[in-house]
Symmetry: C2
Subunit: 332 residues, 2 copies
């Protein structure tokens, strides 16, 4: 394992130290060592927007804390949910007196800990409502959408929910905007290599050279098919064939497209992939309002990429277009 | 080779297509297929700022074209200089009537092609002056600084030169600011794995598991020492011990620190490394004005990281702090 670390058991804490030292203009520590908050949080009279999740997905999750996105984030161990106590303290760090919207991904640990934290918050008089992201098409059939995992579509959910809160939306409006954002969003991933957890030292799953895993999850959750490694144009076709019919995205729609690398794939290849994806989407008469291409939601040193498509209406377009300033996404 | 591509021979052109489709608000195509320019280039009455270099280092080089950084960039094949004709057309795309500053890295191909392009430009009545970056401490002894390669310090050179031009500096002032920026900057890299050129299909050099190469170049140029893979704190010590005494950076200095991944190293590890580097720098009484941590100048799928330190004076601080908007660096 060729990696940069000290004791693997301390990697999350040390990463957080380095993160706050680097981005002290955007985030700050809180009284909970596993909770970071935006420098100006809590903002009096604004709905607090909170997220959280396991580490190893940078920029997710702390990389989306900052201006016009999330007010705080709870941080878990690598590929492991933050504790309920961390979520609770993240709620408190974001609470500006108008309630808190917790926008997170559909994983069993996160579901359990968020639910506990919401109950604990209620006892303390703090209202928290939640949206659970489930944009990963390959993780369950469409009629079982509630079982689907949340992946890179979460970024668009945070963007829209965070923007709505900054624009003065009340808690129900923020929740509605974030829910609409994720309901309008579909994703799929293709894995080309496994990733290695520092504390383990070797991959905990396998993707053989010359093959790729379609529908792989952000933690190496099994996909829907292992097939021969394809060229970028065929990968793009496969990804759009899974994502577009599921919503469905159709001629006349206006969308945001997000192509994220899984960590170790060179960024130039993400542009090659997006070049093919764009052609296929435009061919269908769908208009791309905005594209994001880069390492937006990763899985340590996994190679591969995810495609996320979100259908816009006037409200979502305004929210997507609002400026923001976070480690993972700065928009002017 | 687990990578996302079509025909490897077309990867640069396809990447450029995807890049322009993604960042159409920042860059545009020009009449030369291997030259991209900022959407508003050329700006009448402003010194044009140009760079260029081989592909595979994203965000470098085209990722630093945009507001308050470079006006255009010439694009080469992977790890190979752009042609003289591409540099010439990049000069023309950036020329707003006040001359052009070409700020590039010290590699033989780039040197040759830039010099030819400058001569060709002169014949056409266009004044181009150059700054050659040579921040890589490990690539030659201090008394042969002119032989040193340019690496991630180039980003700070583009930042300062681009800002000076935007603030109304004339050609000599822009050249002086960029020259001061790179003269005040030192870098070193540590490689943990080799990278694979898509057209080759296997690494063209080796870094054995359990070892690391100190002083490695951005194209796998040999470093100064191959040693056992160390923990992050020891790597940080080794990097600062090479970089700090060379300028030298000393107690009372104010600096910018840039830690860039080489491509495939998980970003969380860069924060772990920066956490150690910051301690060592602060211990010496040096003040860190600003830190950049991320994948700012990469080498395809190489694992490892570079450290760059730049000493600030009032002018450089103003230039570093100016807002900018490029694919690789957006600062508000």
């Amino acid at each position: 394992m060729q990696r940069i670390l000290n004791n693997p058991d301390n990697i999350v804490d040390e990463m957080l130290e380095g993160f706050v030292k680097t981005h002290g203009d955007i985030v700050k520590k809180t009284s909970h060592p596993r909770v970071l908050a935006a420098v100006n949080a809590p903002v009096e009279g604004k709905v607090g927007v909170v997220t959280g999740g396991g580490s190893g997905h940078k920029p997710a999750f702390i990389g989306y804390v900052g201006k016009n996105m999330c007010d705080s984030a709870a941080v878990g161990e690598i590929c492991s949910s933050p504790t309920a106590a961390a979520f609770l303290d993240a709620f408190k760090a974001a609470d500006g007196g108008k309630g808190v919207a917790c926008l997170y991904g559909n994983y069993s640990g996160d579901n359990m800990n968020v639910k506990m934290a919401v109950k604990m918050a209620k006892k303390e008089g703090l209202t928290v409502k939640t949206v659970v992201a489930n944009d990963d098409v390959a993780s369950a059939p469409k009629d079982q959408r509630e079982k689907r995992r949340g992946v890179a579509g979460e970024i668009l959910m945070w963007k829209c929910g965070g923007a709505k809160a900054s624009l003065g939306g009340d808690l129900d409006e923020v929740i509605a905007a974030a829910q609409k954002a994720i309901d309008s969003t579909r994703s799929v991933g293709i894995g080309l290599t496994p990733c290695t957890l520092p504390a383990v030292g070797h991959p905990n799953f396998e993707i053989k050279d010359g093959t790729m895993e379609v529908g792989i999850g952000h933690h190496g959750e099994p996909g829907i098919e292992v097939c021969e490694l394809e060229t970028a144009d065929k990968m793009a076709k496969r990804m759009t064939d899974i994502v577009l019919p599921d919503y469905p995205f159709e001629s006349g729609d206006e969308v945001v497209v997000l192509v994220s690398g899984l960590g170790a794939t060179p960024v130039m290849e993400l542009y090659v992939l997006y070049n093919e994806i764009e052609k296929l989407i435009v061919e269908k008469g769908i208009r791309i309002h905005k594209a994001y291409v880069g390492n937006y939601f990763t899985s340590l040193d996994m190679m591969g990429a995810t495609l996320t498509v979100m259908k816009l209406d006037d409200e979502l377009k305004e929210l997507i277009d609002l400026d923001c300033n976070t480690m993972g996404l700065t928009q002017v």
